[in-house]
């Protein structure tokens, strides 16, 4: 895989521009899928020890392995697993849209 290739959003409006078979044109990285999140997890940097347990548990994965970890809100669906698993209660939440 070419790692440096930048993904770009592709919108197809005509049948003639579609590939013959249902095959993706680009990466899912451009197709942002966080629109249905209702609970937004927030990392409290003061409590966080960068143990990275949240990163390990995130099924998306929407937690970026930085120090301290950051949440990628373009992809986080608000499942809350990181909130439950954090051993230091460093991840809180707020309702989306407030």
């Amino acid at each position: 895989m070419k790692k440096n290739k930048k993904p770009k959003k592709v919108i197809i409006e005509k049948a003639s521009e579609m590939p013959p078979m249902p095959a993706s044109l680009g990466s899912m990285r451009v197709n942002k899928t966080a629109s249905w999140r209702s609970i937004k997890p927030i990392i409290n940097i003061e409590k966080c020890t960068s143990c990275m347990i949240c990163w390990k548990y995130c099924p998306e994965p929407a937690i970026l392995p930085t120090n301290p970890p950051e949440i990628d809100y373009d992809f986080c669906k608000g499942c809350g697993i990181c909130i439950v698993e954090c051993p230091f209660d460093a991840i809180g939440s707020e309702k989306e849209g407030k």
Binding site: M1, K2, I12, M18, P20, M21, P22, S24
Partner: protein
Amino acid sequence: MKRVLTGNFAAAYGASAARVHVIAAYPITPQTTIVEILSEIVANGELKADFVKVESEHSAISACIGAQAAGARTFTATSAQGLALMHEMLHWAARGRLPIVMTNVNRAMAPGWSIWADVTDSVAQRDTGWMQVYCENNQEVFDTILMSYKVSENKDVLLPTLINLDAFFLSHTSQVVDMYNQETIDQFLPEYHPEIKLDVENPRSFGALTSPEYYYEFSYKMHQSQEKAKSVIKQVGNEFKQLFGKKYDLIETYKCDDADLIMVDYGTIAGTAKESVDRMRQKGLKVGNLKIRYLRPFPKENIRKVLSNTKAVGVIDRAISFGQEGPFFTELKSAMYGLDIPLFGFIAGLGGRDVSIMNIESMVAYMQNNDPKDLIWIGVKK
């Protein structure tokens, strides 16, 4: 090079001459010798291909789908219950736009357990999106395999082809088959290089969730390709004639130009019907024969053109769509819509019963003395 071959051997040598890369098949009577001979050809090194041994027909077609998606030319073969077991994956192959070529030895569906000819098995797969050809003789089986790869792989088509041959009447009957010169075959059918394939250098997802926003257009494009295939089949047939001397099209007409009465049929029955036409013409009856080669794409324009000046048309079906009529008769009736020509639908030869010249002559006699009828059973022991 000419050899005496059964239909099954012609199919196996056809696949070998097409230089397929992957063969995945499961043996079933009467298709078994296709798989046997191909496994031998691969084992003795005559054909450089992977022979994948599988535990069912569902797996056989699945292995072909995977290999074809990765850019290989693939081949498989089956019959009746085996084709039925493949059903789900037939949709997958066609909608995935994978130009797989498969031979199906037409065999009656059980029960009663039967190994003899009947086209219900392939007609039941009509709407999967595969192109379907019906062969009359072993030479046509060999030739159709070569032509089908070229048609299927055409970038305007990209659809799989199901090549049908009647159980025993072709599969186990020996005829002279010209296998040509491999260099000319390679010239006719070059290597397969798909534009879109599974490729680690350029990753894509295939057959993923498709929303209503796009599914409709994929179906539309598939139908457009079936329509385009009609001209591609004609063009490939012409190219084949230039190199090998035999002419193939969507349909084949025999003495139709001045015919008052035309029989429409497919598969081996067409051979018997043409012989009947000659005999009836000796008695002064102006009869012709139209052989349908392709069930999909259905050549309705060609059929309508040939039949529009005749006085009566009879269709011989080696299958019955229960609760309706012969399946090819239904297709033909829709092609003839609006023309005021009497149509007769005959059912004959189910489960491998012989369709004789006498049977065909009795059909013609029926057409001369009766009003048109959608469903006429020939030879029922009442």
